[in-house]
């Protein structure tokens, strides 16, 4: 037992104190900034971006389709696309995820997640999610698990994953929603008591991602029900997820 307790002494405090202003490593590929003037000749967009997130004339990236692989940064003329380490990428609508030359981290973040008064009054700073992996590759799932580890420790903000939809305030969906999971996903949503929210997590959930052309998907769920929060990333970084939820349930 003493050896076990000794580990605590060696480890000390590991949590990130200020999660809203946590510093991300410079190499992280977060929000891209674009410069149209660097592109002089025609480019084969399809070849650079198999996810069809990139558009030219004018330069545009749809973050709901972007897997942040960094291929456009490397293949386009230098400076045309530059991935910054800005990680607060979540928005409350799909349109806001399309970024162009004017987008900077400030004006992207300012309007990204609008304050909804009813959210605060209903959930009162605490929110519990049921996670449903509907074809997710285990990348987003591992990162969502990491949100609860001793570094990020999102439980201290009242955010948590619970074991049953009956205990949940909303569901977090990862993966492109396969045919085989469509029924279970809808069932899980219906089992969650009202009022409830829907969060899409990761590029596969947002648009199908690299699997968008697959015949094995069934994304009807998203046509039927309203989505409250879109969190891009491949996979979603724990800081992106926690900040997204904190912004979503904030009062002002």
């Amino acid at each position: 037992m003493f050896d076990t307790l000794k580990m605590k002494l060696i480890q000390k405090n590991q949590f990130i104190p200020d999660i809203k202003n946590a510093k991300m490593r410079d190499t992280f590929r977060g929000l891209p900034v674009l410069d149209n003037s660097k592109i002089n000749s025609a480019v084969d967009v399809e070849k650079i971006c198999p996810l069809k997130a990139l558009k030219t004339n004018p330069l545009e990236i749809d973050l709901s389709k972007c897997s942040f692989c960094g291929n456009c940064e490397r293949k386009l003329p230098e400076g045309a696309v530059k991935f910054t380490n800005f990680y607060k990428l979540a928005t409350d609508s799909k349109e806001k995820l399309i970024i162009n030359e004017q987008t900077t981290s400030e004006n992207y973040y300012k309007n990204a997640v609008a304050i909804r008064k009813e959210i605060y009054s209903i959930f009162n700073r605490s929110i519990k999610f049921r996670q449903v992996s509907a074809g997710g590759c285990n990348g987003c799932e591992m990162e969502l698990n990491a949100c609860s580890n001793a570094n990020f420790d999102m439980a201290r903000f009242g955010i948590d994953f619970v074991a049953s939809p009956r205990h949940a305030d909303g569901i977090v969906i990862t993966g492109p929603i396969t045919k085989n999971m469509a029924y279970a996903l809808e069932n899980c949503y219906k089992s969650t008591p009202e009022p409830k929210i829907v969060v899409l997590c990761g590029v596969c959930a947002l648009s199908g991602g690299i699997f968008q052309n697959s015949t094995e998907l069934n994304r009807e769920f998203l046509d039927k029900y309203k989505v409250d929060l879109y969190i891009p990333g491949c996979p979603v970084h724990p800081l992106t997820f926690i900040n997204a939820v904190l912004d979503f349930i904030r009062k002002k």
Partner: protein
Amino acid sequence: MNYCTIGNNQKINISDIPTLNCEIFREQLAITNLRPLSYFGCDWGEKIKIFALLADDEKNQILISSTDIDKNHKEYNSITQDNSQYHMFERELYEQFDIKPLNHPWLKPVRKNQDKYEFFKMQGEQTHEVAVGPIHAGVIEPGHFRFLCQGEKVYNLEIMLGYQHRGVEDLMVQNPTNQLAESICGDSVVAYNSAFSQIMETLSDTKITKKAQIIRRIALEAERIAIHIGDLGAILGDIAYMMGKDVFGVTRTLVINTMLEISGSRFARGLITTGGVNYDINAEISNKILNMLEEVKKIVKKMAKTALSSATVMSRFEKTGTVSTETAQELNLVGLMGRACGIELDTRFDFKDELYKDFERKPFRATNDASSRFRIRYKEIKESISFIKKLLVKLKEVEDEDILVEANENLSPDSLCVSIVESWRGELVHCAITDSNGKLKRYKIKDPSFNNWWGLSMALRNNAISDFPLCNKGFDLSYCGFDL
């Protein structure tokens, strides 16, 4: 001989592969003591060609053989009735090409038609069934488990998967990209992307630099360390030893944040590409990796030793979820789980990877139970740390080389190519076949989980359901790697 032989990461012309009469083909697979690497069908005009890839672990060779099945007469006598290692492959073949293996003991769906799935049944006093899933209590992928119990004891666990099926093999044929390869299984990004890139490089005769190869190996070992540490934490979490869970969870962050430093992604997405790697490991990052490894080694050693000397931990680990070596051999368990059950298989060494030539493997004393599955991870973390250190020395010798070469676009026509990578779970087999125009015609992936899921079923027999989380985490198999 009715086989042709090739090595790992080599290609062969389709016409050089012997096409046997179906009966002879069946007979030789039924009696051979070589284990199957992959067994799959491919549409061949009026026929369907079945390829069988066997591993000769002693001679470091892959043996290939094939047969033709007429599209009007899609059945043959199953191999499974004589050699149980083919039972999953034949079920898959039946589902994908409607070729019926006659007398197969349980020809159930693999990934599709889940509503038609018939579970095993048990009747009698005090018997009951417990159904779990597809959505589980934790944040993990979906799968359905059906426990047949008498009283507290589990008689049989049946596992139904397929919820994750995204049609990866078809997408791969339509548009083979690195982005797709690394999205197949998000916890083995480096392994999947390496295997895919090696296939494309072999088929297009692109020769990548030694430096790029070394960086790929470093990333592969770093991935192994990261996931193993995470698993050690998860195993301890499932027996409510929270200190271990938290300490290992935090230690894993050190490793994946170093990956972030190298490649811009915590799981090394975007690092590997056809033709080499995208990001260099320079002297500065090299030093950071070494420092990180020292730190990680220190903490992991301390924590693992503390856990393994704790009576509460060991009383839960010992004799829980035992799979005998004979059963493991019969089921053809591979990789990490094979080694935990006493089968010494490691494709890094069996198929003589040039860069692992002078590395040594220490023997492992397998006890086939949960403690064995914990200790093998601890041992492999230590080994991988020393491998990375040696690889970093090798990297220094080839400092001036490029990391990326222009990949040839044209693939050689009418060829079959195999690439085997030892992912952290075990042997990952990618196999590609091209048509006469040099386009991909078939892309077959076999994840180590494809073999090992049945091992988990066997581990649960005669244990209580409450031991399931411990066994499941010990195996930590891939749902999406199986479902594709």
